[in-house]
Assembly symmetry: C2
Amino acid sequence: MKPRIDLLTGRPAGGGARPRERADAARNRAKVLAAAAELFAARDPRGVTMEDIAKAAGVGRGTLYRRYPDTVSIAQALLDEHEFALQERLLRGDPPLGPGAPPGDRLAAFYAGMVDLLEAHISLVLGAEQGELRFTTGAYGFWRAHVRTLLIQAAVPEPEALVDALLAPLGPDVFAEQRRRGLTPEQITAALARLAHGVTR
Amino acid sequence: MKPRIDLLTGRPAGGGARPRERADAARNRAKVLAAAAELFAARDPRGVTMEDIAKAAGVGRGTLYRRYPDTVSIAQALLDEHEFALQERLLRGDPPLGPGAPPGDRLAAFYAGMVDLLEAHISLVLGAEQGELRFTTGAYGFWRAHVRTLLIQAAVPEPEALVDALLAPLGPDVFAEQRRRGLTPEQITAALARLAHGVTR
DNA sequence: CGCGAAGTGGACATGTCGTCCGCTTCGCTG
DNA sequence: CAGCGAAGCGGACGACATGTCCACTTCGCG
């Protein structure tokens, strides 16, 4: 069902040893990612098409499809490193983001980190999570597991149903709408912190 | 920017007196809505196309476009009456859904009502809120105003930012994902009730 | 019954998608 | 360094959806 490709190299994620990437392929991949980053930032990320990216990168459409099945995958490839950095800090960083603080504080810190990420890369996240793909992403699974653990630590009843409800405000469309309304990232973070503490208390 | 059409009659929402709808037009409108309702229920609502509906209803595409600019409008027309019924109960129904109960209880009751609505008409809601249209709907404005009022009554700080965060879990994609995960409407309602009370306390 | 207007529906032009396949470029090997 | 097999490339192609347009039909009022 899912394409299941390695987002770093854009190759099918089979376990075996890779044949090593050819020079022209690497060159084109760089061109594609650079062009895509500009396009996503410049206009409505949801309107960017494979053709657009191919033209901007100066490659043919076939070349694009060789690695990425759609624009969503390209946006995800660009987003990947940023998400990974936050995941690292959640697992091994200092409290309250990392381990050691009370669950409510950690949840609030997670919210703050996500708001920062959204603010910095909203166009990529919008490009990466359009459609119903949002929940099938590896990243969503990670956020979900993290919040779920915090809820269980806080001994909250019905953690399973609460997890998705607590992640919902981090949907890129919600964030974009709030920013469009004139809310600052700080206000949004403050509101989410209240949510975090209200629910874990 | 927005089409701004009257969803009941499908006509442009100009204030003036309408010329009255012709018999063949009414007949076709009924056929279209009936066919669309079946289609939305039968397959993935996001995959239903104008062509599909036209064919199923036995009318031409031009006829469809005369009233509805896209499938989203059709889904909204079908959804409209259900949403309106809930809105009535919020304004004039018995507590805790209607006025008279503490804000936390009213918020929880609102959540419960929305979960019922989602459970009953998830395919329509999915069809109606695809894309970024979700926040521009009249209904979203209503839910937002309602929750905002409750938050202010509860003397919650930062109500503006919290409103959208509290509405986010009601997004159709979130609900669909939770159901897909095996959660029951009751479990979801319970989790949202906890959210409601946690935040207004 | 006749006429003007509202309504109809299919053809058309446009744009995106995803695939396919002949040609090019690479890099290993002898 | 020359040759070869394979990986990579890119434009052409068929399929499909969109939204518009306009010649034709149907309505309902006088």
